[in-house]
Subunit: 260 residues, 2 copies
Amino acid sequence: DRILVGRDDEHGGVIVEMESEQRLDLDPRLFSSLLKASISRWRQQGKKGIWIKVPIELVGLVQAAVEEGFYFHHAEPAYLMLVRWLADTPNTLPANASHRVGIGAFVFDENNQLLVVQEKSGRFRGSGVWKIPTGVVDQGEDICDAAVREVKEETGIDAKFLELLAFRQSHRAYFDKSDLFFVCLLEPLSFDIHPQEAEIEAAQWMAYEEYAAQAFNQKSKILQLLAEVCEARRNNRYSGFSAVSTSADYSKGGSHLYLD
Amino acid sequence: DRILVGRDDEHGGVIVEMESEQRLDLDPRLFSSLLKASISRWRQQGKKGIWIKVPIELVGLVQAAVEEGFYFHHAEPAYLMLVRWLADTPNTLPANASHRVGIGAFVFDENNQLLVVQEKSGRFRGSGVWKIPTGVVDQGEDICDAAVREVKEETGIDAKFLELLAFRQSHRAYFDKSDLFFVCLLEPLSFDIHPQEAEIEAAQWMAYEEYAAQAFNQKSKILQLLAEVCEARRNNRYSGFSAVSTSADYSKGGSHLYLD
């Protein structure tokens, strides 16, 4: 019997990547019978987890896979990953990515002025609240780089990452995913502000005391703690985590270790 | 015209949750024509991002949505989230969850003995390498709780979270997602070891020097840095981040702030 072409993974499983170029002519009924034959073979071979990656062009095959007992593992814009556990042993398939990661950046100039922005959208739109620049860390992006990028994008200010001051983990923030928000301290390398048109209403250097005195900050326990941290850090009574560039043998690409 | 029932989100978009109970009789062709009419209406109303959540029981509707210009945003075992940007303005839809989060736990007893394990699976299987307990943080789980849970599961030891010593961010670790690994310091509350049968080959208290002297540790820059951190922490020359329980107004559930 013909079966689907897959490769073995490191955990006794099989990964099948449907390729849109070769398989645009693949009829769902043919796919279904190939899948049945494949499952039978894989079970004989003692395979455990079976992964099928379906590019969005082949979406017509998804229903057939679900009918053969597969379920959704994760999806990205261009593909859907389906999985089925075949073995009699307990299912040890890894969980899907669980966290979104964000950053906020404290950038002080030499006169203790803080770089702040007013946002054009979101919950603070039109509120007059001055905030530190914040943003989402892209997949594959280092936290320290994301802080520098967001500050540059929102305000035009070039800056250098100094230290991670603190971070917050919260839950059910977004499609039931958890959230990690890293508060970074940056040193400005330029001082002329050019606010981003699409997202930023206004940006300026502001006396730190004025920023901290806003009602919005006074009401928030977290922002008060962060204000204390900033103050202590600037008086050398607090140490955050520095970023050390390193590599991990078991991960592609580089990585950073954050430590005191 | 009938259109799909949706609710407005906070960003000018619409969220449609297909309900499997009511819609098991929904024919893909009827869904397709409802969707066309809905898109036309939403466009007139100036709606931006349109979300359609399809439970796996209604997988037969997915192809019709893709044919109407929707693409995959994310998926969990029981549903697939599709999205389409309708507005003429740039697409500002949020990215999918990007990170997996793990923990490792240093647990020292009063005699400077470290709690270590040998794993039954993975790359260290059969290698004789003694490691600290590690594991994956569940979606919705606090990092400090995950460290305590993993130590208990793998070794039977009850412990209390003391401090976060350091963390590492790496990339393309797993289905191209990024990875955050938090190294925690815990205080043991019990000392009798009961290794988990399924995953742990052996567990013991081991002299810290012996752990650190393993060839595997000597070869790893990260593990050497962490050994230095541990040593400095135990001599009160290093401070990690403590966990402060707090709440965020814009997130459901509690959260923790980690700071020095």
